[in-house]
Assembly symmetry: C3
Homo-oligomer: 201 residues x 3
């Protein structure tokens, strides 16, 4: 079942990449590239850093199929209604949560210490978006504003604490995911921001 | 013989990187870096994703030697005549074609499925140019306009279909290459473009 | 002892990343990311290209600890006095020198030929800064101006020549380091620049 959620997360991230490509004025090829990189870029960076080969999307063709379908659906959909945009934000928060926890579990299975596990989970969930922003000529949004990567970090840390406190892995996983998504959606709703340090002058 | 063509392709791509560095106002070190990344960046990304080590240019010093020579030649050449620019475009199309098909064959030899083979061939031929554009502060050209990566995709797909139809690998390779270069040059000549999707408003 | 110097170099590079993040208007998360990437990005790229796993900062938690401490210290320090800025420049030149020579030795131990050793040492010392500049929306400084990567290249080349001339590795290492730092600081003091090639028109 996690596998189907995973494919759904890939689809949602691909939609976000396709929308970014349209905003940046890219052509059809650029749109497909941005959809793919947003969806599987983070997991690919994680696998390169962890030396996990072959890469997950090379073995299982469904990832690329979902990306192409999601990109084409974005292309062909008419203007997005406010409620569709709302649904996309919720789906994106769920994708963030799922990728963060899945990435952390994969890093744990590679026997990494806790802090690198935290970083690999966050990279899985956010690395694709960073490369998407770079390729469309933007300073990556998550380095500048919003509680996005920070929500992933917090939820993975909670998962790790709950495991250490003796909870079953599955339970800790679900609670970690819920906390990533909740923190992300609350911060969107209330406009929470991290402090922006100023250069002393 | 393919090997000598390969080195020639490296040289042409290095010239393209050196010209981009001069347009971006980089210094001599930046010019050498951009020449190298344009020439061997795509193959390096492919080898990292496929876990092929040591990297091809670490084992065989001729790649780096050709890059330095091509960069210096670009630096020392006077203004490029219209016919020299024309020759460069044709050489670049041949380089694109050769790198695409060679990259695809390498991915096949790693026993990848057909779609990842297609992507690895295209990455080999175009990844260096993408990093060149990022380093010189541009949104990568091939995500925005021209039939460039698309020509590589189409030619590799033809190669794969011809192989499946029973042709010998060498024959399919040559026909794939010819089709990449032809499609690229025709699209340049006629100004063909992919559609640029518009955000619905 | 080299190990403690290494951690000090990581700290200095992390400060430089944190300062760049503040100049680019990034938030607290972006500041930590830029500090980390500047400090360990070059070594990470080197290890990926050389297929060295697990990555050095995954095994030894002190690297990440030093980065977080250095980033927080930067954040909490008041305005930097001219003499503090001067000390930072000297420490940065020493970090450049140390990372360049350490990276070269690591590449030698992987049995790379001399020219790739030169490139891997330079990448170790400068790759993090390049990614830092990309993530903060700048064309990488070292491709445009200053004798920075060139100082690393020159010092590693000297180290290689001295080894070939029969010097002990440790002696050659120290002389190579001294020459990187000296060349860097002299070029800063006198404003030396590499030529910026002009496009013939």
């Amino acid at each position: 079942m996690l596998y189907w959620f995973d494919l759904m997360g890939v689809g949602v991230f691909a939609v976000s990449g396709a929308l970014a490509a349209m905003r940046a004025g890219l052509d059809l090829f650029g749109l497909l590239v941005l959809a793919a990189i947003t969806a599987i870029g983070g997991g690919t960076l994680r696998d390169l850093l962890l030396n996990r080969h072959p890469l997950f999307w090379m073995k299982d063709g469904r990832y690329l199929a979902v990306i192409v379908l999601a990109a084409l659906a974005t292309l062909l959909s008419g203007p997005l209604s406010p409620s569709a945009l709302q649904a996309l934000k919720i789906a994106d928060a769920l994708g963030l949560a799922l990728f963060a926890l899945c990435g952390a579990e994969i890093a744990e299975d590679c026997e990494l210490p806790p802090v690198p596990v935290l970083l690999m989970g966050t990279l899985t969930a956010t690395g694709g978006g960073v490369v998407r922003d770079l390729l469309s000529g933007q300073v990556p949004l998550l380095l500048r504003q919003d509680i996005y990567a920070t929500a992933a970090l917090a939820g993975i840390a909670l998962y790790q604490l709950l495991m250490r406190a003796g909870l079953a892995r599955n339970t800790a996983f679900v609670l970690g995911m819920v906390s990533v998504a909740t923190l992300r959606l609350l911060s969107l709703h209330y406009g929470w921001q991290l402090p922006v340090p100023q250069l002393p002058s």
